[in-house]
Amino acid sequence: MRLAYSAEELTFSYGAVEALHINRLDIRAGERIALVGPNGSGKTTLLHLLAFIAAPDKGTISFFGEIATPDNLLAFRRRAALLLQQSYLFRTSVLTNVEMGLRVRGVSRRKSRRMAQEALDRVGLLALERRSARSLSGGEAQRLALARALVLNPEVLLLDEPSTHMDKAGVQRTEEILLDLNRQTGTTVILTTHNLERVHSVAQRVVNLFRGRVVPAFTDNLFKGEVTGGGSSFETGRALFRLPVAARGGAYVTIDPTLIQVSRVLPEDAPPNTFEGRVVTIAQENGGIRLEVAAGERFHVLMSPGDWDLLKAALGEKVWLTFGENAVILLN
């Protein structure tokens, strides 16, 4: 198994605040990974380290078997492209923006122009090649930045919230491009997202981050509290969760929003974690439905359109939330 990245004992701090602490993270070459976590969980910091534009305080990152050192940072940086959440566009034309990375690599003007046009065609912006980059809309600007990254034929493509500013069609197109790229060239794709509904449409594996650490759970339903009942439950002050195994410590619990069942009547043989609440938000989210239910705590539930058709709850309607003990994951 060839590894694109192997990170060990990685730490990174902003001043005195530790933003990232990863004991070990292996990413296979050709893998598609989503880094998921709430704001401040260290997703962007990790991407910057993997793009070699920041150096860890401690620990090592191996890139395709070679340990990153100050001497090979530029060479590694040229093999991994990072798309920022809000990309900077140069004060020039759309086409010249895409050519920039090629020009710094010494590619001839003629060849870089042809390659840039191909990349623009791929993201559907070829018709705008002569336009000023600064005149593009938010979604177009992100597609231009994607073309600027794609044209470099990187071995690893890192994307920080790539669907920001994009409409539904733009998101789908971007996902198709990423999947095609991965299948055709074996490019490793690593993206950060908070859009859990779309995670699996691109990613084969999800790495959850919470407070700078890799954790084994989603963090949409993240509640602070303390372990009670001798390790059998977790008390937040507004809700009491039954835990799967006797636990000693832990200041947070998280519940995977795709594992919460919603029904309009109290199910028979309801599991220990059953909560009565009212629907406060119903939103479409990239082909699925996201519900927010006030049931002591505010729970987020992600459901498929099929499940939603069976439920069809109205705003303010009383519903029951149920989930097994194994859906509750304790975090330190």
């Binding site: 492209a81 900077y88 710094v104 690599r105 600027r148």
Partner: protein, 230 residues
């Protein structure tokens, strides 16, 4: 009052008739100012870029010194360069005193802190994502500096134009290092001072009108550059 109107009328005639003496003075002024600004830019823009992009010990002190130099009294610069370029000075053998080159040298020192300071401001005013993007695209340090400079080009050009505006209207250095030699080192400002002291208002007024025109052109250029860099 009537003598002012008469002098103004004769001054306008000198301007519209393209009086050779008037325009030779204008040409000398533009020539030495342009040379000074080119020299100051050649040193000041890379220096400003370097100071803006690098963190080093004493940077804050250097910025204060550079800011202080913006208010450099022109007669002090003239005095120092007079000492350096005079026969007994370290560069006396170069015979640059009372030559256009001597004036340009002194003016370039006046222009340098303006170019450096405003280049630093231009670079520091850029979107921080630009610096990250240059690195992400795999640019070397030199390539990054060039890309950053290109992004700040309008603001940097504005700094050069502002420096030109400062030196073209300067009188102390041009007088002390040029000596106001007719047909050789006489600039618009020194000629205005001399003609006024002689009571010859029309030549002074003609040059004053042209100096105002140059100042207007410089400010119009500056306005356009600032709009584009904004």
């Amino acid at each position: 009052m009537s003598f002012i109107v008469e002098a103004f009328s004769r001054a306008c005639n000198l301007v519209v008739d393209f009086d050779p003496e008037v325009y030779l003075v204008v040409w000398t002024s533009l020539k030495v100012s342009f040379a000074a600004v080119v020299a100051a830019s050649a040193v000041g823009v890379p220096l400003g870029l370097l100071i803006a992009l690098r963190e080093f010990r004493g940077r804050e002190t250097l910025l204060v010194v550079l800011n202080t130099m913006m208010a450099l009294p022109t007669v002090v610069v003239g005095l120092l360069f007079y000492a350096v370029l005079s026969r007994r000075g370290p560069l006396g053998e170069l015979d640059m005193l009372f030559t256009p080159v001597g004036i340009a040298l002194g003016l370039s020192v006046l222009a340098l802190p303006i170019v450096v300071n405003l280049t630093i401001s231009a670079i520091e005013g850029l979107d921080r994502r630009l610096f990250l993007t240059c690195r992400l695209l795999g640019a070397t340090a030199v390539q990054q500096a060039w890309m950053i400079l290109k992004e700040a080009r309008f603001a940097v050009m504005a700094s050069v134009v502002m420096a030109f505006g400062r030196v073209v209207s300067e009188v102390g250095i041009a007088m002390m290092l040029g000596g106001n030699i007719r047909g050789f080192t006489r600039t618009m400002t020194t000629a205005i001072a001399l003609e006024t002291s002689k009571g010859e208002l029309e030549l002074g007024l003609a040059l004053g009108l042209l100096l105002l025109f140059v100042a207007f052109a410089v400010n119009a250029a500056l306005y356009m550059l600032q709009r584009r860099s904004g």
